[in-house]
Symmetry: C2
Subunit: 571 residues, 2 copies
């Protein structure tokens, strides 16, 4: 019972040994992360199409719930770029942005996503996320980064533009280009340029000055705070808001409000698929970060419990004015580098953000939206990485086509279709590959007991014996292929008396494949050819023995291929 | 060029060596098949919801086109039970049975199915059919047989009843039971009883009289002709048609008419999915029969060319007043047993049926529909076989659930949903199984170079070395599972210094799995543990060498597991 409770409430495990040294480390990390999170949270709320304060709210209660239920000690949960984009894409199809209904729908989306994650965790369905292949994720994130960056250009130039795929966005931007606000554009371009310099130029500079790589990383991550402060001051001092520079404006001074998502079945029905996709993508992003960080300290991550932690965080977001959240890469790395030891660091961050929401919001009244757009653009462009195309082209064409389709469809048709198509295509390509397995005809390497492909090696063969090695488990998708291969190999060659299937690479034989083997056995018998098996694995043999195939087999089952040939040649 | 033509026109291959002995054999077979096909064709047309003559038309031109393009020498193409049921199910959702539009839609369905089959053949997409697992087909055919038999009960009892799944049919039958026509019922029950006796009682009788098993089979198959003759005479002599016995009635005396299917995009759109399912099911049924018969004479079947043959046959059916056709089991076996040597036998059968369509149709004016229903019921009940449930339960639970779902959903919701769900479920179960592969921790069997599962065998292990054998190819669906397994095995055990992956059962490593291996390697390094590989297969190694993983590997790649342990223990 106690271990059970600890499984579902990891806080009981680390809370028991919490001490002063861990407390100090956690407090320092929390302070740094809080400073970094303030602009990021506001920015991602705007990206999701919500008022800026929603970003703060989405970072407070979710982070505390994750601290109770999550297994990662360093993961920082809150709004992230890709999930915010997916939120905007899902909601804009259903309700108009800027309305009350939009914010309520965002609550429902977070709640639904939370329930889905929780259910997946309780029923241990985390494996579903595995069907997102790494290349598909890489392609999806690259394409999403481009769309996000493009969607922020309107804030940089102070114009109106809309769209949820690249083509729509570009057309909309071009047609509105005449309405450009030059002051906004100058702020936006300077802010973007500065942030890029912080990433590319400041980092080497600080390192050369002898700072540790960890501290450098943390300082670089606070760059956005500097831009926020400077541009806000500029707007306030020069009264730029009156000259058409769009600002964040009034943000309520409040702790996260208690909210209730809409339970309208219509709305929930429309949000179900997007919520599922957001859950899966968010989970995959989160678990990779968590595992990478846990490995550095030889800690364990339980994927099913992570689902529960993320589920609780999203349900929390839906009840406190937020929107879908997950474990973010950059914030978690900062948290880890700043020395966070336990999830308590996350709880302290939440307290910091709560203070910000209560006390600091008047200070961001004059914060230009262009600055937030600049922080988003610089953050997401680091996600854009086309090298996956080159890499997959060299390594595996199937992976390449799955990535290419994901990138093109995400750019052309939007995030939901893009990622679904990528998953579908990679499953189809996998099934296709395993439906036409590599089947090698093998012969004996002279003076050894080894058997190798007759096309690659000089080997000994006997005209009356054909040995085929199937390099794949046998199941319904390739069962008939094997039938065809064997039939066609034997039909034309009247010398053949024995066919041996070398089963060393066969990890499973399902019922379809068993029936195919029966058919092969029967048809070979009609041609006066015996079917033999060699090197059948234990678990496969166990299963075959439950059926009468072995007793009907015209030939024998040999322990090794060498034995098989020795015995059959002597006949 | 010549070989190319022979590939697409197999008739050029066998036509060149055609001689008098083959001609005689083909003529005898054709005569027997013709006699058997007349009642069967009429019956399946009624099952498909079409006028009786459509069955004859569907057997004439298609059989001739298959003779030109098909590769099987014994396959007899025409209407078959399951495809006729699927035709009725597809069309009844769209147009009302008995209308002109219904017959035209049947032409479109056959044409669409023909085009799909042809395209699959030309683009060599026959492998798609492999995703119908054997158990799913068995379950589907069993459930279809039950639905077909139930759908014919209305003719046996002379009542009105409709429905495309078992529940609908049973309810409809029960509510109309009061309208039963007793004379029809007597004819129907007697005919059914007689046909069952022919199958079960006459066969042993004839065998005991010393007839060969082939001839017995042929005679038994002509049983339906006897029933047709007897019941038609009875209706005519006693004027039973006036007493409410439904008869076939006037059938035009005509060769197959030239017809044009409807090309309405609306209609074609609605028919696309059913046409695809009919094509796949028809192809699977046909190719199994063709391969079984070809094996008996050591002949080759080319699945892609079979698709072309069946495609041509269906296009022929759509242009000559027919409906979807495929290679039938019982007619092909009769054809083979009667001695057919070449596809010419099919052409002669077509001529026989053409003569019947021209000259014999007035003779079936008084043929009661109950008789045709009886022939259908007896034919399809031989398809019903629940043993697949017991068999799959014993052999593989995944197969069992796929079959069970197929049977239940086909009975409850109809053929299209049933077979689609079966295919979907078997793919999902396969993916699920391969996403959680068997991973054994292995140790050395004392005094050998063999390594076996530590849970099953008494083996030697070293506390600083963990060897894991993954019994599955590594791909995206199981890549993260492997990460978790290794991480959790190592995280808690501080003695471990080396992890060896024994790769003897890994037939492929895709890019996702490669990236997982990279992550594993990196995370193990963080824990001061080295990752090694052993027994990597040639093609897998080839591919790994295209990437930099091997140079980043913290450990080594060993040719054999024994070498790996020998070397690492000595360190």
């Amino acid at each position: 019972m106690k271990t059970d409770l600890t499984r579902y409430l990891p806080i009981l495990a680390w809370g028991r040994t919490y001490n002063r040294s861990a407390l100090t480390n956690d407090l320092v990390a929390a302070l740094i992360v809080t400073i970094m999170l303030i602009p990021q949270s506001l920015a991602y709320a705007l990206l999701a199409g919500l008022p800026a304060e929603a970003g703060l709210y989405a970072s407070i209660v979710p982070i505390m719930l994750y601290a109770v239920f999550g297994t990662s000690r360093a993961l920082a949960v809150g709004p992230v770029a890709v999930v915010s984009l997916m939120t905007a894409a899902a909601l804009s199809n259903i309700v108009e942005q800027g309305t009350m209904g939009y914010a309520v729908a965002a609550l429902s989306l977070a709640g639904l996503s939370g329930v889905i994650l929780l259910a997946m965790g309780l029923f241990r369905l985390g494996f579903i996320a595995n069907f997102l292949s790494h290349p598909v994720i890489a392609g999806f994130i690259t394409a999403s980064g481009i769309i996000i960056a493009a969607s922020q250009l309107k804030h940089i130039f102070g114009i109106d533009a809309h769209g949820h795929n690249l083509l729509e966005l570009v057309i909309s931007l071009v047609t509105h280009l005449g309405e450009i606000n030059w002051i906004t554009a100058i702020i936006g371009i300077l802010a973007t340029g500065f942030l890029f310099w912080v990433r590319k130029g400041l980092k080497p500079l600080l390192r050369n000055l002898g700072l540790s790589s960890g501290l450098t990383g943390v300082l670089v991550k606070t760059g956005p705070v500097a831009v926020v402060v400077l541009t806000t001051l500029a707007v306030w001092l020069f009264g730029l808001a009156d000259k058409g520079v769009k600002i964040v404006g009034e943000v309520p001074q409040s702790l996260p409000p208690l909210t209730l998502p809409s339970f309208s079945p219509d709305l929930l029905g429309q949000l179900l698929l997007p919520a599922f996709l957001i859950s899966i993508i968010g989970f995959v992003e989160s678990i990779s970060v968590a595992q990478t960080l846990a490995a550095k300290k030889r800690q364990r991550i339980d994927p099913d419990q992570e689902l529960i932690g993320l589920g609780a965080a999203n349900i929390g977001a839906s009840l406190t004015g937020g929107f879908p959240v997950t474990g973010g890469f950059s914030r978690s790395v900062v948290n880890f580098d700043a020395g966070a030891e336990t999830p308590a660091a996350g709880a302290f961050t939440a307290i910091g953000l709560a203070i910000a929401a209560l006390a600091l919001t008047p200070l961001i009244y004059f914060l230009p939206k262009a600055t937030l757009a600049a922080t988003i653009i610089v953050a997401v462009l680091s996600l854009v990485d086309f090298s996956i195309l080159k890499r997959s082209w060299a390594y595996s064409k199937a992976d390449f086509f799955a990535v290419l389709a994901t990138i093109l469809l995400t750019l052309a048709l939007g995030v939901e279709i893009g990622v679904s198509a990528g998953v579908g295509l990679s499953i189809l390509l996998h099934l296709y590959k395993s439906s036409k397995p590599h089947i090698a005809e093998v012969g004996q390497v002279p003076n050894t007991e080894h058997f190798r492909n007759i096309l690659r090696h000089d080997v000994l063969t006997d005209p009356s014996i054909v040995t085929l090695r199937v390099d794949e488990s046998l199941y319904f998708a390739n069962a008939r292929y094997l039938e065809d291969k064997i039939h066609n190999r034997v039909a034309g060659d009247k010398d053949i008396r024995h066919v041996i299937l070398q089963c060393s690479a066969i990890n499973e034989i399902d019922l379809s494949a068993l029936e195919s083997l029966e058919a092969i056995n029967e048809r070979l018998q009609e041609m006066d050819v015996c079917l033999h098996l060699s090197e059948v694995k234990g678990p496969v043999m166990d299963r075959l023995q439950r059926e009468h195939f072995l007793s009907e087999l015209s030939g024998q089952v040999f322990l090794t291929q060498f034995e098989a040939v020795k015995e059959l040649e002597s006949k």
